[in-house]
């Protein structure tokens, strides 16, 4: 058992390398997690943006946080999909019958989700800069943004893990992506919630994505973050812990 512990991070590195290859070899994944959010950003800024009143001088400055979260949400279906295939094709069985810590295979997927999202978000931010996005935020604020997005990614990744591990079919594994896609759309990601009719506004203001978007936006625009950041963190950490616990339980139960 000693050797298993010593090699834990090396093994996880091998798993990470494997899944990253999967992503880079799947045009479909790259389109969904990077090109689509960029296309949406172009659409909203150059087609719809002129008609949207947000109170910021440039719409792209208002929009970027939401686009980042949408990119993360788009990637979640693929986490389920990759996990499901590993389970179905006996890859987990192979790994789990080897002298590797059992959790390394699962955590490898989680780490992959973090790393691949980091890469696609950097690309999206670069495109936003070309489109005129500017932020007065300092290093600390950017680090805080990175931290919040990382927690948001982890929370969604663990939800996707539950779906992928317990799904009975490929279609079932991907279904989790749909409700997750909708959350950023019904939030303050694109337009201020004040413009929405009552019940929609009530939902938008009390679901997790809005405080997360607001916190990131405040950090990037160097505005006071207020309570939003704590609400955002509470949502992320809460969802992450519950989903991680449930996913690990499902994973342990499986042979």
């Amino acid at each position: 058992m000693e050797t298993i512990k010593n090699y834990y991070f090396m093994d996880m590195g091998v798993m990470l390398g494997r899944s990253m290859r999967h992503i880079f070899r799947s045009l479909d994944t790259i389109i969904t997690v990077t090109i689509m959010p960029i296309a949406m950003m172009l659409l909203f800024v150059y087609v719809l943006g002129g008609a949207i009143q947000t109170g910021t001088d440039k719409y792209v400055n208002y929009l970027l946080p939401g686009i980042l979260l949408i990119a993360v949400a788009n990637s979640i279906g693929y986490v389920s999909y990759r996990l499901f295939l590993d389970k179905q094709r006996g890859i987990f069985e192979r790994f789990n019958s080897m002298p590797i810590a059992r959790s390394a295979a699962l955590w490898g997927h989680v780490l992959t989700s973090l790393v691949s999202n980091a890469i696609s978000l950097v690309v999206i931010i670069l495109v936003a800069l070309i489109m005129g996005f500017r932020s007065p935020a300092g290093v600390l604020s950017w680090l805080a943004v990175a931290g919040i997005i990382a927690l948001f990614t982890l929370a969604l990744t663990w939800i996707a893990a539950i779906a992928g591990l317990s799904a009975k079919s490929v279609d079932g594994a991907g279904v989790i992506a749909y409700p997750v896609h909708f959350l950023p759309l019904i939030s303050s990601a694109f337009v201020p919630t004040a413009s929405m009719p009552g019940p929609v506004r009530a939902f938008a203001e009390n679901q997790p994505v809005t405080p997360i978007v607001e916190a990131i936006r405040a950090l990037l625009l160097n505005q006071p973050v207020g309570n939003e950041i704590w609400v955002a963190l509470a949502w992320c950490v809460g969802i992450m812990l519950v989903a991680c616990f449930l996913a690990s339980r499902v994973y342990k139960k499986q042979g």
Partner: protein, 255 residues
């Protein structure tokens, strides 16, 4: 018999899924260096036994020792000394054959993963296909890659769960050749199959699993003694379709 001469010892093994009993008291022993075939029809519980022996599944009761280690209290040691080739070729389809082998060599923490991969590609006739994605491989090639992955790190005991199910006759004979070579090199092979001929061809000892128990076990000669002596009958022997098929493509096989 000395402890070290017994690779697998199973006593009173029981396992139920929910309330449906699958194994109702299985006993057998496998000698080190032998080829042991577990015969049984679909759903007899062969895979359940393999999963318990390879630490993927916990038994309800019974004593199971693999290479001198108890599977429930020392699963880590068991995993160090075994390799599992599951029922469905557990190869990563998006990676190439070479990458699959290198990945497993890294996870076994071997000195030179590239060289290990190169040697196995040679040995299993996969050099030409080494840098193609495994998804483009034929069933036989995929199974060869699968078995090659299992041999990495030279584990003294190998489980092959229905290694030839779904393969064409040519590929089946290739797998048989590999198993014979393994046995020749002193590796213990635990094989499950539903083909009687396969057990007859490969196994030193055969056990038949039926309704949750081993109903007979022994060498082929011993099993034959259980039945009435052979009668001499004169019949015209028609070639089977398999013999015809193999005779026609025989030339190709010899190359």
């Amino acid at each position: 018999m000395l402890q070290s001469e017994i690779a697998i010892s199973v006593q009173g093994l029981k396992k139920s899924y929910k309330n449906i009993p699958v194994l109702t008291g299985v006993d057998f022993e496998v000698k080190t260096g032998s080829v042991f075939a577990l015969l049984g029809s679909n759903g007899a519980g062969k895979t359940t036994i393999v999963k318990i022996l390879s630490t993927l599944l916990k038994q309800d009761s019974g004593n199971v020792m693999v290479n001198g280690f108890d599977v429930s209290s020392k699963p880590g040691n068991v995993r160090q000394s075994i390799s599992l080739t599951g029922q469905f070729a557990a190869v990563d389809e998006i990676l190439t054959g070479r990458e699959n082998l290198i990945m497993i060599a890294k996870l076994r923490h071997l000195e030179n993963p590239r060289r290990v991969a190169e040697e196995l590609l040679n040995r299993f006739g996969l050099t030409d296909a080494a840098d193609r994605k495994a998804s483009t491989y034929s069933g036989g090639m995929r199974r060869r890659l699968d078995i090659a992955m299992s041999l990495i790190g030279r584990p003294p005991l190998i489980f092959l769960d229905e290694p030839t199910t779904g393969l064409d006759p040519e590929a089946r004979i290739e797998v048989w050749k590999i198993v014979k070579e393994l046995a020749g090199s002193g590796t213990t092979v635990f094989l499950t199959t539903q083909y009687l001929e396969e057990a007859e061809q490969l196994a030193d000892k055969i056990a038949i699993l039926h309704e949750g128990r081993i109903i007979v076990s022994g060498t082929l000669a011993e099993l034959k003694k259980l039945f009435p002596p052979a009668k001499v009958e004169y019949i015209e022997k028609q070639p089977t379709l398999e013999e015809i098929f193999l005779a026609i493509i025989g030339k190709k096989m010899e190359n």
